[in-house]
């Protein structure tokens, strides 16, 4: 009885093929997942790269601000020097005209 039942079970539970196209569908999903994993793999270093780029750009911005600030300082000194030079020119003219 048990042998009959077991034989019947073996017949009832024999392996069956999946629906047609199963292997193709699996390969398509695998390929898609592979592409996704590849993108994700680069996302992590891309995130790190983005952080590094941000740090570099902040540093460069600070350096640029410093350069601009120093350049502005130089320009102010030069502007005041030129102004002084031309005022002195006027003063000399007035002085010579007044005979002093």
């Amino acid at each position: 009885m048990t042998d009959d039942l077991e034989a019947a079970l073996r017949a009832a539970l024999r392996p069956v093929d999946p629906p047609e196209g199963f292997t193709g569908r699996v390969m398509a999903r695998v390929a898609s997942a592979q592409r996704h994993r590849l993108r994700a793999r680069w996302r992590i270093p891309a995130g790190i790269a983005a952080a590094v780029l941000l740090a570099i750009s902040i540093y460069l911005h600070i350096q640029q601000q410093r350069r601009e600030g120093l350049e502005a300082r130089r320009a102010i000194v030069e502007a005041l020097r030129l102004t002084d030079e031309k005022l002195d020119l006027a003063y000399q003219t007035v002085r010579e005209a007044s005979g002093t």
């Binding site: 600030g69 502005a72 300082r73 000194v77 502007a79 031309k86 007035v94």
Partner: protein, 187 residues
């Protein structure tokens, strides 16, 4: 800066009772690209309020010159300089600066000094714009045979602060802040 000269100029202005009118102390400076091409050396400085503030952060408070400059620019909102040096005489024309002169004839601007040195051919015109008892703008046009310089300073020009620049640019000391005649030069 020539403190004695500045003091004399502003003092003259106050005594002459020049009327104060609301006008634009910042000049519209022409492109001057033609002059730049002809010049052997050119200086183009445009410092608006933001750049003046930025520059102020880089002025060393422990350095006497920087400290004095910082005080001068505190009340300023702009410094504009165009200066051209040429390799030969009369490389620029009067018409090149007519556009600037025209602005300085408008209400608000007063010419304080007009100097002409026939020997050297150097002419210096100095203008100011006053509000109340304070100068809020200054313009200087120095025309020399081989050099043209235009300076426009905008903002509250504090005479006392200008005084603190004595000696830093080879400027003599100021004897009096408001005199009708220029005091004697001190070195």
């Amino acid at each position: 800066m020539k403190l004695s000269c500045i003091g004399w100029l502003f003092g003259s202005l106050l005594l002459s009772g020049v009327a104060c009118r609301a006008a634009e102390p910042r000049l519209v400076l022409p492109d001057f690209s033609d002059l730049t091409k002809k010049a052997s050396q050119s200086v183009n400085i445009t410092l608006d309020s933001s750049l003046l503030v930025m520059a102020g952060k880089f002025l060393d408070g422990d350095d006497p010159q920087d400290a004095a400059v910082r005080e001068v620019i505190k009340g300023l909102s702009g410094i504009y300089v165009r200066s051209y040096t040429f390799g030969e005489d009369n490389a620029y024309r009067q018409s090149d600066i007519d556009a600037v002169n025209a602005q300085l004839t408008s209400p608000g601007w007063s010419r304080l000094v007009q100097t002409k040195d026939r020997k050297s051919g150097a002419n210096v015109d100095i203008y100011v714009m006053v509000a109340g008892e304070k100068a809020i703008g200054m313009a200087l046009i120095a025309s020399e045979p081989r050099e043209l310089t235009i300076v426009n300073i905008v903002g509250s020009i504090d005479l006392d602060k200008l005084r603190k620049l004595e000696g830093h640019f080879g400027v003599p000391g100021l004897d009096a802040a408001t005199t009708a005649s220029p005091p004697s030069k001190q070195k």
